[in-house]
């Protein structure tokens, strides 16, 4: 793959106390493509995502977004970088005191000097993109979980970002709604050439949307490749992960020796 990469991460290390959560992650995210970061619970994928959007500072390493290193960046230049990306949070994170339209309008209103009429039109266009025309005046608690995610997506793309991050986009949704969200991610990427970085552990959706897959395990990059490459991997851990089996490279039930050892180590 010889594409231009829009995000480069080099040797990212993060420790919480004595626990090392990210152990030197190095990877490239190609521009205009959909990259899916996968891994089991606790493998550090959410922590990794929080570094990319500037919520956590790493202990070592650097993160280049569109050529600019965001590690240790001051608030004002960081805000300029933040305008280049949008983020869809797992729980949508809509502001409950604002209507759907006001939620989508918020970043536009704060970052630009556009008049209210123009903002209204932009909001309408963005809501139409996610298929929610006519819901402008609803409050977040009046709409369903899937709709909330779509509003959050409209808000994330309000300022026409180059990159959109998705934290578990299908979590907590029924299969049909989840696949609708997947379709939206695909549409945005293909039509608007937005780079998408999706953190997920749902295999089916991941294989459907991914141009590139990155498998994390215990704070390290285990394998990077296209969907078919990952599907045909020989790595026993990834095989177990894809097939969703309780037994395999990661033992579910430990042997009594290992259990005793684990207990005595602490």
């Amino acid at each position: 793959m010889q594409e231009k990469s829009i995000i480069s991460v080099r040797n990212l290390v993060k420790r919480f106390g004595n626990r090392v959560v990210l152990e030197g992650i190095t990877l490239e995210i190609p521009e205009g493509k959909i990259s899916v970061i996968m891994g089991g619970s606790g493998c550090g994928k959410s922590t990794f995502l929080r570094h990319l959007i500037g919520l956590y500072q790493p202990d070592e390493g650097e993160i280049l977004i569109d050529g600019q290193n965001i590690v240790g960046l001051a608030e004002r230049p960081m805000n300029a970088v933040k305008r280049k990306f949008g983020m869809l949070f797992q729980g949508a994170a809509l502001f409950n005191s604002l209507t759907v339209a006001e939620n989508v309008a918020l970043p536009i209103r704060e970052h630009t000097d556009l008049s209210d009429e123009i903002i209204k039109i932009i909001v309408k266009v963005k809501l139409e993109l996610v298929g929610l025309t006519g819901f402008e005046n609803f409050m977040p608690h009046q709409i369903s979980g899937g709709m909330k995610k779509r509003v959050a997506l409209a808000r994330a793309i309000a300022l026409d970002p180059k990159i959109v991050f998705y934290d578990e986009p299908g979590a907590g949704l029924d299969p049909i709604t989840a696949s609708m969200i997947d379709q939206l991610i695909l549409d945005l990427s293909r039509k608007l050439k937005i780079t998408s970085v999706v953190v997920s552990h749902e295999m089916k959706s991941a294989f459907r949307i991914a141009d590139q897959m990155i498998v994390l395990h215990r704070g390290k990059v285990l394998e990077v490749g296209t969907g078919p490459q990952i599907q045909n991997t020989k790595n026993p851990y990834i095989r177990q992960f894809i097939n969703g089996e309780p037994e395999g490279a990661i033992p579910f039930i430990q042997t009594s020796d290992a259990y005793l050892k684990g207990l005595l180590q602490n």
Binding site: I53, G54, L55, E75, M78, N79, A80, K82, R83, F85, G86, M87, F89, Q90, G91, A93, L94, F95, N96, L106, P107, E110, H111
Partner: protein, 266 residues
């Protein structure tokens, strides 16, 4: 013994850390206030007025009620004691001076720390838990500027206003109980009320209420924004916001009275 001193050390360490974080927040808020004239959209009047209505206008009735009750109790107790010296006449003076100097600001602050401080902590805490605060900062919006500043300013505006209401209602309460219940001469009561009152009584009371407003707003917002975990964290933050505010209000009251009446020249 070692445990005992260890506990004391630990607690005072936590207190110091808390004070440090509070003053950090205070500096950030003041920094934003100084920048406000030069930077557009730092203070949004729409949000400010919304908060003023939520906090102030809606608290009007309860402040009236509590202020009047305090005035009544004060008049009852004072006239009972003053009777022994044949100085019942001075009930009005005593009520007016003690209400404007001390009880008005204190009662208004305590009622608002319970009514509004708790609300602030719970609101911001829930926003933190639901990733709304993270969403703000990913949009390149400073949570302190967007969430804390309007609430802080609204508090600073409304608490002195409500203190005046509490002062007036306290005097009215005292007047009603003395004339109707204790059959004092209303003209004499009013004359004595205004004889004793000097401007300093009123403005020191208002300065105090301003200081209390800063304390309550900072403590409540800080507790809200430092919530970790779920519903449990929000509950703990809310309780702690009210308890810490009330303790700090009383300490600040003692200090400011000492400074204003004993240290500074009359």
């Amino acid at each position: 013994m070692r445990d005992f001193f260890g506990k004391i050390g630990e607690t005072s360490g936590f207190m110091m850390a808390g004070m440090g974080r509070l003053s950090g927040l205070l500096f950030e808020v003041f920094g934003l206030l100084f920048r406000a004239p030069f930077q557009k959209k730092t203070i949004q009047l729409r949000h400010l007025f919304h908060q003023v209505v939520l906090m102030g206008v809606d608290s009007f009735a309860i402040i009236c009620l509590v202020g009047a009750s305090v005035g009544m109790v004060l008049a009852l107790q004072a006239s009972y004691q003053l009777k022994q010296f044949g100085a019942e006449l001075y009930t009005g003076s005593l009520v007016s001076v003690s209400v404007t100097r001390e009880l008005g600001p204190l009662v208004a602050a305590i009622v608002l720390s319970g009514r509004v401080g708790a609300r602030l902590a719970a609101e911001l805490g829930t926003m933190k838990v639901q990733e709304e605060v993270d969403a703000l900062s990913t949009m390149g919006l400073n949570p302190v500027q967007y969430l804390v500043l309007p609430r802080f300013l609204a508090f600073l505006l409304i608490l002195p206003c409500l203190t005046v209401v509490a002062d007036v209602m306290g005097m009215v309460g005292g007047f009603l109980i003395s004339t109707l219940g204790l059959s004092m001469n209303p003209y004499l009561y009013i004359a004595k009320t205004f004889d004793a009152l000097v401007l300093k009584d009123i403005y020191t009371g208002l300065i105090k209420s301003g200081l209390f407003a800063v304390l309550i707003a900072l403590v409540s917002c800080h507790q809200g924004l430092s919530v970790e975990g779920g519903a449990d964290g929000v509950g703990r933050a809310t309780t702690s916001a009210v308890v810490t505010s009330i303790v700090l209000i009383l300490v600040m009251d003692c200090l400011s009275t000492a400074v204003m009446y004993y240290v500074l020249p009359a």
